[in-house]
Amino acid sequence: MPSPASRSPPLLLLVPFLLLLLFSAASAWKKDEFRNCNQTPFCKRARGRKAHSVPSLSTADISISDGAVVARLLPSQPLRQATDGDDPESDTVPPRPLLLRISVYQGGVLRLHIDEDASAPRRRFQVPDVLLPDLDDRRLWLSRLSSPAAGSSSFYLAEGFEAVLVHDPFQIQVRRKGSGEPVLSFNSHGLFDFEQLRAKKNDDEDWEERFRGHTDTRPHGPQSISFDISFHGADFVYGIPEHASTSLALRPTSGPGVEFSEPYRLFNLDVFEYLDDSPFGLYGSIPFMLSHGARSSSGFFWLNAAEMQIDVLGPGWDDPAAPAKDRIDTVWMSEAGVVDAFFFVGHEPKDVLRQYTGITGTPAMPQEFAVAYHQCRWNYRDEEDVAAVDAGFDEHDIPYDVLWLDIEHTDGKRYFTWDRVLFPNPQEMQGKLAAKGRHMVTIVDPHIKRDDSFYIHKEASERGYYVKDASGKDFDGWCWPGSSSYLDVLNPEIREWWAEKFSFENYVGSTPSLYIWNDMNEPSVFNGPEISMPRDAIHFGDVEHRELHNAYGYYFHMATSNGLLKRGNGKDRPFVLSRAFFAGSQRYGAVWTGDNTADWDHLRASVPMILTLGLTGMTFSGADVGGFFGNPEPELLVRWYQLGAYYPFFRAHAHQDTKRREPWLFGERNTALIREAVHVRYSLLPYYYTLFREASVSGIPVMRPLWLEFPADKETYNNGEAFMVGPSLLVQGIYEERQKSVSVYLPAGQSWYNLRNGVSYAGGVSHKLEVSEDSIPTFQRAGTIIPRKDRFRRSSTQMVNDPYTLVIALNGSFAAEGELYVDDGKTYDFEQGAYIHRRFIFADLKLTSVNIHPANLGGKFPSDCVIERIVLLGLPSGAKKAVIEPGNREANVELGPLTLRGGSSPDAITVRKPNVHIADDWTLRIL
């Protein structure tokens, strides 16, 4: 079938399309289409302020109420008149007092809440359903305020930490008890500004904002909030995705000699051909920032879903003559909402992640298949195409688990339907894949085609389930199907209704092996301002779109994920990939970095982007392998597979105009290289799955910046080229064409084993290594044990029964440790204890399998799987055999290959067929 683009139109239609070509031809990022800070009045105003220039507030009536600190905030002195001319919307009416409330939660979390009082003309929006429902149970009951010095009150925060409320001018500081060393401070630069809701000063006052022909009526006027946060003891700050960046640490956006001139923007946008390095907003927003330095780690999270702009101020921003050391100042600006902010005091960086995911949730435990390799393209055209691609993988012995269908599979972009010409037998098609243990994913977007014969539209419009425009009518925007409306997923009732649509009865043609992809949920509105929804659109409860914009995609993702949960009667773990995200999205599925481009810089940027997502809770993330736009050279594609095989979410995807790029289309050599890359991932699946378990328990991401594992090693702090997979593997990407050598920094404290050749390298040093086309440099940290499966199957499903290999990398004292987690890979039975969790400990030439499944949990996961091979790195030669207890069985020790795949790998000491069961306790002694 020819693609739509190959049609030739009637002549008369040409004219408007010619216009379009002119736009498309000048491809790349449409900078003009997005507002910069200067075009965004609240941002411009806030950014124009100098330190301590905002009329200050003082606290009054400080007390403890209901276990929390409460106070009122009032102007410090008689109000000055509007300060200067460039602040046209500043308030000349005396403001009402603001209400302040500070609560403290277990684990070192301080929550600051500031809102207007009940006399405000309108209730400000507070983002619902993001914080964990049990959060309140973990609140500490404050009972006492102390007064360490005149004009301040302090109270307990956590072991070794206290918080100080400075009365006038109002300021909050989190500090170490005893030393008084500050960790975090709020308003220490006097930039806190809270625009209170009010009536128009006179009828002439113009609250409208216009941008590129779009008018935002702004019926409630200015209501922005801004403040400064200082991270003390910080060398770098990280987080606040999503921005494309080749730097892991956030670069300063303001101050002497900074590169970026715009603040980091958090505003969920569908950006066509985004740049690889820019502070502008992308598809998702998580207003969570972490800081790390040799002495301290901390974090700050502002629960606010309106447009946010964040400046990271370079040293000397306030006083070029005396740049601050060991402190990073930031300014946070939001268009609306309230202050509902969380301070995380750390000690270690992992503590900060635990604290953050303690309030927004840890990542959901994915199904095992979802951790394997995904094959996607816009679009696999029809059932024949699907069958051919599926067969291609088998023919070339490349495993894959999931085949994806993009928007073209639908009947006219009506989601939940099938193009019956291209996909006449969707169930049969899914059945064929499922027979090989494979799954399918179809796309379901939030825009609903305005077509009265489409049941979703009919129901949604009859029930009034759509977002309304400023005039109160169903909002009508343009997206893939043409004229479309958008479900108001802020409303829990609508989310419930939506979830029902995923039942097998409702989603005709779906089967239990079908999962879902949510795209365009920023939401993308082609004819809207900044390709999104007008800010004055109205949601459930009279909430303006401006107030919840960044969370729209989150609610949609949530509703879809709950739909799959319902579909499987609460037993089948959902898999939903979303493009838009917000704080908390980790509870509902995976995300990816959207429409990237097939070039080397986008390959490079993928690592800092995914690491940043991981730091902010979204560990199940990846970038499109190969690059969405454009045609990668085979070398780039191969390098992308080699790197992408280590992404937590490993999916190849491509734009419909690109050449086909299934792995076997680039000659035998490249096919072999890609096969090898995919095999690496499949062999590490037991390790990845164990890491996903860890993430789902602790919030520690699967793919980690080096400094998360080596917080004391300063060399690692801004390394965005290499990363850790779990605690044990270090991966260095290759980001340049025909690169001959690469410098790899291996963190201090341990030595490292090259996983290709077993050679050991010292830590704390940069090593210049030759680069081969076979693989990217990968190292196992000494002192770790990695579980693998070295047999390859069509998909992860057939690997369930396959035996394991343990790779033990010994440290200087000939010791090592590692974990293995196994469950059924599908259901929630693990919550009842149906899983195997072992810790392998090697010490004194003895390997012990220790059960770390808590006995009190009960439950059991049966498995007869055994360990068929144990590879020992760093053991002095001379080992003869192994003796296994219980049973006093012997196993041979010999030289065997480090990996069974490709080429010649040097031999390592190998225990042959110990055949110990992973479910059992045992010891294995090397003699």
């Binding site: 693609s3 190959s6 379009l20 070509l21 105009d657 055994v866 042959r912």
Partner: protein
């Protein structure tokens, strides 16, 4: 899968110690080993095939990978690079990746790859083998017939090739002779014309004097007399007064010859209009001409002819001319380029829907792709106008462009064979009807006297008969010279055009046996949904939807030793490559275009079945294969 999972989870993880599954399964020592390999595994210590290691007989198929290349585990999944051999008695043996062994999926029709008891694979080899053999037999039957057809085709192709070559050399020698004659006639003609010119000037002078006198005498009477003049005289008079006489020479000639075909008349009227020599008594005709110039949508043959001139002469000033898509679409980009500056910076002028479509098109290119045809047609037009004669032949088959054709040789228009094949032809194979299909019978007809002899005779007669210094010029003699000149030069240009089209054809590679020679004059068509695909080997391939045509590519070359025809450099794709088409050839009893597909955006693929591919070697190969398949049949199951 669910069931499988549950079963396999609860049953044993892996049969690590050998389980002899059933009697039909070979012993551990031979499991997964091809019969011809069995001897390799005989000894007690066996080498890995890659030479890297040795292993003992106990290590053979012991579920532990000792050889990186998989030598020691042909019957298990332990080695990632291993291969498993299924005997598949009753069907053809199969070698599968060892990753398929005991993975719960039946890969071998004899079920031998699943022996650990987790899944029961029925033996389907007999059924599958039967089907496969029948298919093979059918294929062989096709090949057998095809080989015969092919032989005939090759014979014909060789003959046609030889004929064309012979014709070419004959035409070349004729061209040489004819050129000389034409030159002589031309000189003669020019001399006559010079004489006529002088004579006419003299007459004009006389007439002028006479008219002046007459006007003075009676103006009304003069008017009456003028209107009684006949057309051609009048025309010639007027033309002779036109300033650029050289340019009008041909028109003058045709007028004098009293040719009443539309071309001549139109041209005269055109010229007239241009010269503003509007005579009262021709008002009607002139008005008609004017109408047609303004409103050429009227599809008369008259306007058809006229358009050719408009395209050639007045393209730039005739925006309304209905000359097919080309003129208009060529206009379109330029008129919008002007707007670009205003629009690209500001989308405010667009309606909501336009804006939506515009943004959507960045990803899809869908709408934008439609205007690419604007670009393409410009390219197409370039093909039309810029390229030399052979290229024109090339274009000749295209129904979209045939209205635009410029024919150098007026005579061709009268040629009854000058029809384009794709008007209302049924889908399928058809002759390539370009202008090289023009009837050249007068060039090749054999008679008592060849046409060349006749011309030679006539020319010498004419040249002898005329005394050019005689004055006034004898009208009939002058006409004879002119007629001879016209005839000869028209023949010459026909010959030249034929030579160049033969040259164009013969320069191609038609295969080892010239087996593709007949393809040159054929197009193959296939209708798929709303599209009609046309493939004209050695020329081009296109996709037609209604009235619009997308070029999928121009002839590039054969690939894969004449098994693939490649057409490349077709119309450009938005955000993509130029379109291209790969036509895979396969043996079939008749020429048939099948399965046109677009596996990758703008990269098309098709299959052409044709006897040309039914080669004997392949037939032998297939027969061999069938023999093997039959030999593998277990005797008990032998139904025959």
């Amino acid at each position: 899968m669910g069931a499988f999972l549950r079963i396999s989870l609860t049953i044993s993880c892996l049969s690590l110690f050998w389980i002899s599954a059933s009697a039909s399964i070979p012993s551990r020592e031979s499991l997964g080993i091809a019969p011809q390999d069995l001897s390799y595994y005989k000894s007690d210590v066996i080498k890995c095939k890659d030479g890297s290691k040795k292993f003992t007989k106990e290590q053979l198929n012991d579920e532990f990978c000792d050889c990186p290349d998989g030598t020691d585990e042909p019957g298990t999944s332990a080695c990632p690079q291993g291969k498993f051999y299924c005997p598949n008695a009753g069907h053809i043996p199969l070698t599968v990746f060892s990753s398929r062994v005991n993975d719960g999926i039946c890969d071998c029709c004899d079920g031998s790859d699943e022996y650990n008891g987790n899944v029961n694979c029925p033996n389907t080899c007999w059924e599958a083998g039967k089907v496969a053999r029948e298919k093979l037999q059918k294929k062989i039957a096709t090949f057998q017939m095809g080989v015969t057809v092919r032989r005939q085709e090759v014979e014909k192709a060789k003959q046609a090739f030889a004929q064309d070559k012979a014709e070419l050399s004959k035409l070349k020698s004729e061209e040489k002779i004819l050129k000389e004659h034409v030159q002589k006639l031309k000189e003669q003609k020019e001399r006559i014309e010079k004489a006529e010119e002088e004579e006419r000037k003299k007459r004009e002078e006389e007439q002028r004097k006479k008219r002046e006198a007459e006007r003075k005498a009676n103006e009304a009477k003069k008017a009456f007399e003028e209107s009684s003049h006949d057309n051609s005289d009048h025309a010639s008079e007027i033309l002779s007064e036109l300033p650029n006489q050289d340019a009008m020479e041909d028109h003058h000639d045709s007028a004098i010859e009293e040719k009443s075909d539309y071309t001549a008349e139109t041209e005269i009227l055109d010229s007239w209009a241009v010269g503003k020599q509007v005579a009262n008594d021709h008002d009607d005709t002139i008005a008609k001409s004017g109408d047609e110039t303004d409103d050429t949508s009227e599809e008369s043959s008259f306007s058809h002819v006229e358009k050719q001139h408009l395209v050639g002469d007045q393209e730039g000033t005739m925006p309304e001319a209905n000359t097919g898509d080309y003129t208009r679409s060529k206009e379109a980009p330029s008129s919008h380029v002007v707007e670009e500056g205003q629009v690209s910076d500001n989308t405010e002028g667009l309606s909501r829907e336009e804006l939506g479509r515009l943004v959507a098109s960045r990803w899809t290119g869908e709408n934008a792709a439609e205007e690419e045809d604007g670009v393409n047609t410009v390219k197409e037009e370039r093909h039309e106008h810029d390229e030399n004669i052979p290229e024109e032949n090339h274009d000749g088959y295209n129904s979209d462009s045939d209205e635009d054709h410029n024919f150098d040789d007026d005579d061709l228009e009268d040629d009854p064979d000058m029809e384009f094949g794709d008007h209302g032809e049924p889908a399928g194979t058809y002759s390539y009807n370009g202008d090289d299909k023009t009837d050249y019978s007068d060039l090749t007809a054999s008679g008592s006297l060849s046409w060349l002899d006749k011309i030679q005779q006539t020319v010498s007669n004419v040249l002898q008969a005329i005394n050019i210094f005689k004055s006034p010029v004898n009208i009939s003699e002058a006409d004879a010279v002119r007629k001879n000149y016209d005839d000869s030069s028209s023949k010459l240009s026909k010959i030249q055009s034929r030579i160049s089209s033969l040259n164009e054809k013969l320069k191609h590679d038609f295969g080892k046996d010239k087996e593709f020679y007949s393809f040159y004059d054929h197009c193959f068509e296939s209708k798929q949904n709303k599209y009609v695909y046309k493939v004209c080997p050695f020329k081009k391939a296109s996709q037609v939807e209604g009235h619009s045509t997308t070029q999928l590519g121009y002839w590039d070359k054969f690939e894969e030793s004449y098994r693939v025809m490649l057409f490349s450099n077709g119309d450009r794709c938005w955000n993509g490559p130029d379109r291209s088409l790969k036509v895979r050839l396969r043996c079939g009893l008749k020429d048939e275009l099948l399965d046109v597909d677009e596996p990758s955006r703008c990269e098309y693929a098709a299959i052409l079945s044709t006897p040309v591919l039914c080669v004997e070697e392949k037939l032998k190969e297939l027969q061999e294969k069938l023999k093997d398949a039959n030999a593998n049949r277990p005797s008990v199951n032998d139904e025959l």
